[in-house]
């Protein structure tokens, strides 16, 4: 099979490429240049491209660099800035997977005649005989990335392969060491790739949108403090929100940018019993869940799964949790997993 493997310059995608070569496939590596600006934390620095290229050379495969900075600006960075301006909490890694890796790059892979696109994600694609493709959690629970892939559907899953999905991270590193890959000991990337570790989110956004001070009020509307930039406050945030009269920590319950107001409350006040996923953002791995179906929801990349029942209202799907949950910030993705097969992703949507 002809496989295009997306190589970030990290150990996971290096080993993904190596496994495909070892399996006898016709493999070509590609590194995406996504971000033109400065960043030291991300995956498209010159040093990372060099690492990917050197690994490809070591494996004896062709390697190309694809410049997708314009698409990345349009589909990932601009919406990221725009969401903050509206007091929402975007997930740029998910948008990158949706719009860049499993759309633009996948199309490119098709046009160039590849049978599959491979990435180094910790997730699995499985399929019962003649059944639909299933998206499952990676074998390494701690490194599982099914959440950031939860927007994939049948069309994409039929064309992708995740070679390291069955491996633990230590398996991956051990394999890289065995092959003598230069990326074997490279630290995992942690943060949003286009945001430098020193400037941070605030520094990145500072010259792209105007920050506004806001009043912090409690559940009764009484002022309890101020913040310098309402655009940087996230629902569920604790840091900088102070304490209630009883000494308990305050959590952000709501962010209202036009009103320049942040509402806080105790953990109990902040917790939610349900979250609405906007209809236009819903995606399903195969079939939509029926009304009243049971499911398991995960609201962040490594969040704790929570049992829920799926309902609907005029805006979209309503995820009703069995027990109160930490708040879900508007803009965050909620991934839904199968209640009887909890490794299997059913679908996803973005919190209203």
């Amino acid at each position: 099979m002809r496989v295009l493997v997306a190589m970030s310059g990290g150990v996971d995608s290096s080993v993904a490429a190596a496994l495909l070569v070892e399996a006898g496939h016709d493999v070509v590596g590609a590194t995406l240049k996504l971000w033109g600006g400065f960043s030291d934390s991300g995956c498209c620095s010159v040093a990372d491209v060099d690492d990917a290229r050197r690994v490809a050379q070591q494996l004896g495969i062709d390697h190309h660099v694809f410049n997708l900075t314009e698409d990345f600006d349009r589909h990932v960075v601009a919406p990221y800035v725009e969401a903050h301006a509206r007091g929402r909490t975007p997930n740029p890694c998910i948008e990158c997977n949706r719009a860049i890796k499993f759309d633009r790059l996948l199309e490119r892979s098709d046009r160039l005649g590849f049978d599959r696109l491979a990435t180094g994600h910790h997730a699995r694609v499985t399929r019962a005989a003649n059944g639909p493709h299933e998206l499952r959690r990676g074998a390494d629970v701690a490194k599982d990335q099914s959440y950031v892939l939860s927007m994939l559907g049948q069309s994409e899953l039929a064309r992708v392969v995740f070679p390291i999905g069955e491996m633990t991270k230590s398996d991956v590193r051990a394999h890289a060491v065995r092959l003598g890959l230069r990326t074997a000991a490279k630290p995992d990337s942690q943060d949003v790739c286009f945001i430098g570790s020193i400037e941070g989110r605030q520094g990145f956004l500072a010259d792209k949108l105007a920050f506004h001070p806001a009043e912090v009020v409690d559940g009764r509307g009484d002022p309890v403090g101020r913040v310098d930039a309402v655009e940087l406050v996230t629902v569920g945030q604790r840091r900088g929100m102070g304490h209630g009269n009883d000494g308990s920590r305050h959590y952000v319950v709501a962010v209202d940018v036009p009103a320049r107001r942040v509402t806080v409350g105790s953990a109990a006040e902040a917790n939610i019993s349900a979250v609405v996923l906007r209809r236009a953002t819903l995606t399903w791995v195969n079939q939509p869940l029926a009304l009243g179906a049971r499911a398991i929801a995960q609201v962040s990349a490594h969040g704790r799964p929570a049992s829920c029942t799926v309902g609907a209202n005029a805006d979209g799907v309503v995820v009703e949790f069995d027990s109160p949950q930490r708040p879900v910030a508007p803009g965050q993705t909620v991934a839904l997993y199968d209640v009887v097969d909890p490794d299997a992703v059913v679908g996803a949507g973005i919190a209203a």
Partner: protein, 390 residues
């Protein structure tokens, strides 16, 4: 990786080292050579080879030997030209301006950009028309007594378009006694007689590996009487214009390559132009919507063919052609190797829709009719397979 034959149509990026050049370099390398600045016989032998190479280069360029400064290549020559002309003109701090065409190679553009970081230096890019020819009226309006340097390349590296250098020189001389005219002849040197076509320029840059010589050696020709401040300091080699031990073997390679190119220039240019025209005609006829980026009638280097192929992305085209063994170019790359949007096409006003699907084929003296046949057979179906709605 498939093992199809390689059809090399990227001579504008680099040309193969000519066997005669390799032989001449091997012969020089076999000698006991000292440092050419030394006093003993091996040093004198090295010095002699270096100066003979300099004589040869000077003769090929129509210059005096003392006007030839050996450098590490085209980029260094461009940096030396820009910063050297600025430095020499600034004995006392005063404002100086740089003018360059909007289609210069990054070696020139980025040198100007870096120089203009200084508060006393301004930099202005001269617009080009839709053919990529520099706007002489804009030049006339921009040159004045503060102009330190005017940079207009002899031939563009992406499109191959030849600039009207003589008219540039005339225009500059009318307006200023002191402005230095620099021409980047790196892309042009394999096909043009620099003694004639670059005669008016005060500074001329060229690079050996674009004309069958080795990578890592180049020249900046500096007209006698033009002051040039050194960019690197040390032992004062190259008449104090470029310190550092000279690459004698590289200079021999450059001189040999220039000499060989001069001897066959007319014949090669005719033959290569005929191949290029056949490739152009065949591709334009067989690929719907394909057009030549440079309008017919505009003079270009004989080996350059720049095409716009709407509905295709050049990154995909290069990958797919490479898989078939066809080597072409999509323009400049950044440090990571990713293709960048072309400032040349942007300056020419080529719409983004067309620029996205642009590609450069560059032919050289060893390009064969079979190479063209192969490209004509492979490129159209590859383009068809990649076509999609943007």
């Amino acid at each position: 990786m498939s093992d199809c034959p390689t059809t090399y149509l990227d001579h504008g990026a680099t040309t193969p080292l000519r066997p005669e050049v390799a032989d001449a370099m091997a012969a020089a390398r076999a000698l006991p050579l000292g440092n050419p600045t030394g006093s003993h016989r091996p040093a004198q032998r090295a010095r002699r080879l270096l100066e003979e190479a300099r004589d040869e280069v000077a003769a090929s360029m129509g210059r005096q030997p003392g006007e030839i400064v050996f450098t590490s290549g085209g980029t260094e020559s461009a940096n030396l030209a820009v910063f050297g002309a600025l430095g020499a003109g600034c004995r006392a701090p005063r404002s100086a301006s740089l003018l360059s065409s909007a289609v210069e190679h990054p070696a020139v553009r980025e040198s100007c950009r870096a120089a203009a970081q200084s508060a006393s230096v301004t930099w202005h890019e001269l617009p080009v028309d839709g053919s990529g020819l520099v706007d002489l009226h804009a030049l006339e309006a921009a040159v004045d007594g503060a102009t330190a340097l005017v940079a207009v390349m002899l031939a563009n590296n992406e499109t191959g378009v030849l600039q009207p250098l003589d008219r540039v020189v005339e225009t500059v001389r009318r307006a200023s006694d002191t402005a230095v005219v620099f021409t980047d002849a790196v892309q042009a040197a394999s096909f043009l007689d620099l003694a004639e076509s670059a005669a008016g320029a005060d500074l001329v840059a060229l690079s050996a590996h674009k004309l069958g010589g080795p990578v890592g050696v180049g020249v900046l020709a500096v007209r006698a009487g033009v002051a040039l401040a050194p960019r690197q300091h040390g032992g004062g080699q190259e008449r104090e214009r470029r310190s550092g031990t000279q690459d004698v073997v590289g200079a021999v390679g450059l001189a040999t390559a220039l000499h060989l190119a001069a001897a066959e220039r007319v014949e090669v240019a005719q033959r290569v132009a005929a191949l290029r025209d056949r490739l152009a005609g065949g591709l334009v006829a067989s690929i719907a919507g394909a057009c030549r980026t440079v309008p017919p009638g505009v003079a270009t280097l004989p080996g350059h063919l720049h095409l716009c192929l709407p509905g295709v992305e050049r990154e995909e085209l290069l990958v797919a052609l490479d898989a078939h063994g066809i080597c072409a170019s999509g323009g400049s790359s950044c440090a990571s190797g990713a293709l960048e949007a072309s400032h040349v096409l942007a300056a020419m006003g080529v719409p983004d829709r067309l620029a996205r699907g642009s590609i450069r084929f560059t032919m050289g003296r060893d390009t064969t009719a079979a190479d063209i046949d192969r490209a004509l057979a492979v490129v159209p179906p590859v383009v068809a397979s990649l076509r999609h709605d943007p």
